[in-house]
């Protein structure tokens, strides 16, 4: 079980727990505001954009070219941006803090 914390644009902090699926699915299941996951996780909509707390960023599996390309065209993206649909929930994410990106 991994504990994953989301911080919304309104600075609301929501702590969730999960052991499977993607981080986007976990967020949608917990109605995290700003994580819409419109395309269901196939990397076509960028409505699950999060900023990863820097201390956790390097622990994540690297982003694919397709994910990087998607983020390249997002004006709010920074060096710690990821698409939550491309992050699998597992033990290694335990304690991670994700800030929901602006639109």
């Amino acid at each position: 079980m991994a504990k994953i914390t989301f911080i919304t644009q309104e600075d609301e902090k929501i702590v969730t727990e999960g052991d499977s699926g993607s981080v986007m699915e976990l967020a949608v299941a917990h109605n995290i505001k700003g994580i819409d996951g419109d395309c269901g996780g196939v990397c076509s909509c960028a409505t699950c954009h999060v900023h990863v707390a820097p201390e956790f960023f390097d622990k994540l599996a690297a982003a694919s070219e397709i994910e990087k390309d998607m983020l390249e065209f997002d004006d709010n993206a920074d060096a710690y941006s990821r698409l939550a649909c491309q992050l699998q929930v597992n033990e290694s994410l335990n304690g991670i803090v994700l800030r929901v990106a602006g639109m």
């Binding site: 419109d38 395309c39 269901g40 196939v42 076509s44 909509c45 694919s64 390309d69």
Partner: protein, 386 residues
């Protein structure tokens, strides 16, 4: 090739040079065909604008048949965001449980009727009524209003003779004017009333602005949804094993919807007006000329999609641009996705197979390219499960 296939007419040009050229009412268009260029230019609203003369970014251009600016579609940032923020929540209502339930009832009714009828002409007797009735949910108005829209036929802007028909377009524009007046006289909980009460920059929206949003809502979701529904049925008619697979693996439904939308790309392309001399694919593009973002071509780009001409129902990574890309991505996408998701779910639940009796393809001509986008007519029989 079977009836359900949509060939990619852009492959050669996309690979060789990356663009195509076409004329449109003496206002030529450079069509961008590569996934990367399409996304890049869609994102670059400063050089490739939407807020040009109303109707000009549409291809074929509607400048001679329309003065009303479609909102937020024909507006650039930052005003675009202001308008879009007003209506974004409304267009996410399709995710609410009661909306989904009503849509499910509509789709079940349509499929039950199709199963009991035997032979039917899918485009006019199934897809158009389904699209129209679903739109009553998006607008939050009585179900019976769909009868009026169904009576307009499949082409709101086109007639037999011509691509663009001002008289036919005026039927829609005049109708919207009347409905806005009605909502103003007696406000309700419908989209017209909500818009009339909305404020931008400390003032309420003008009737012209409300009309601009409503034209977009009607026009953007009509042919596109009709083609997506018709093409989906044609696909499962020609690929019965895919319907069985959805029954076996309902968990792939979301991916299947995205893949069908990628493959069909119901909107072939959308234009932009060039605000300053620019270069794309080593081709110079002059200020005040037009480019188009060819979603259909980008969605078959082999640099991004493996086996792009195959429908792979559970395609895992699918960065398609069938709903557009960046600021102007389709506002009605949530509604459209729900229609398709529910359609596929009900088909898998109730239909064993579908027979195609006859078909007439709908072919678009864009300069040198001929693209099949769907069907003018498709005569089918639905066979029930068990």
């Amino acid at each position: 090739m079977n009836e359900s296939e949509l060939p990619d007419p852009f492959e050669q040009a996309r690979t060789d040079k990356g663009f195509g050229e076409m004329n449109d009412q003496d206002d030529p268009v450079v069509m961008l065909l590569r996934h990367r260029d399409v996304r890049k230019c869609a994102h670059n609203w400063k050089t490739f604008q939407s807020g040009a003369k109303p109707g000009r970014i549409v291809i074929p251009s509607e400048v001679y048949i329309r003065d009303t600016r479609q909102i937020p579609f024909e507006v650039d940032p930052p005003m675009h965001r202001t308008y879009r923020s007003l209506i974004e929540e409304w267009f996410r209502r399709p995710l609410q449980a009661d909306y989904e339930q009503k849509l499910l009832e509509q789709v079940e009714q349509a499929i039950d009727e199709a199963l009991s009828r035997g032979k039917l002409e899918l485009v006019s007797e199934f897809s158009l009524p389904l699209q129209s009735r679903a739109l009553t949910l998006l607008l939050n108005i009585p179900y019976s209003e769909a009868d009026t829209w169904i009576s307009w036929g499949t082409h709101v802007f086109r007639s037999e003779e011509t691509e663009l028909d001002a008289d036919k377009a005026n039927i829609l524009y005049d109708y919207i004017d009347r409905e806005i007046d009605k909502a103003q006289a007696s406000p309700g909980k419908d989209l017209y009333s909500v818009l009339l009460a909305s404020e931008v920059e400390d003032r309420t929206l003008t009737k012209e602005e409300v009309k601009g949003v409503m034209i977009l809502t009607f026009a953007g979701g009509r042919d596109t949804v009709i083609n997506a529904v018709t093409n989906s049925i044609a696909y499962f008619a020609a690929n019965p094993e895919s319907l069985k697979r959805l029954r076996r693996e309902p968990e792939i439904m979301g991916k299947a919807v995205e893949e069908l939308i990628r493959y069909f790309s119901p909107l072939t392309h959308m234009g932009r007006v060039v605000t300053q001399d620019a270069e794309v694919c080593n081709h110079s593009i002059k200020e005040d000329s037009r480019i188009s973002l060819c979603w259909a071509a980008a969605n078959r780009d082999a640099a991004v999609f493996e086996n792009p001409n195959e429908v792979i129902l559970d395609r895992k990574i699918n960065p398609h641009v069938a709903f557009g890309f960046s600021h102007h991505k389709c506002l009605g996408a949530t509604h459209a996705r729900q229609i398709l998701k529910i359609l596929l779910t009900v088909l898998a639940k109730k239909v064993d197979s579908i027979d195609i009796l006859s078909h007439e393809e709908k072919i678009e001509q864009w300069g040198e390219f001929q693209r099949k986008v769907g069907f003018e007519s498709l005569e089918v029989i639905f066979n029930p499960l068990n």
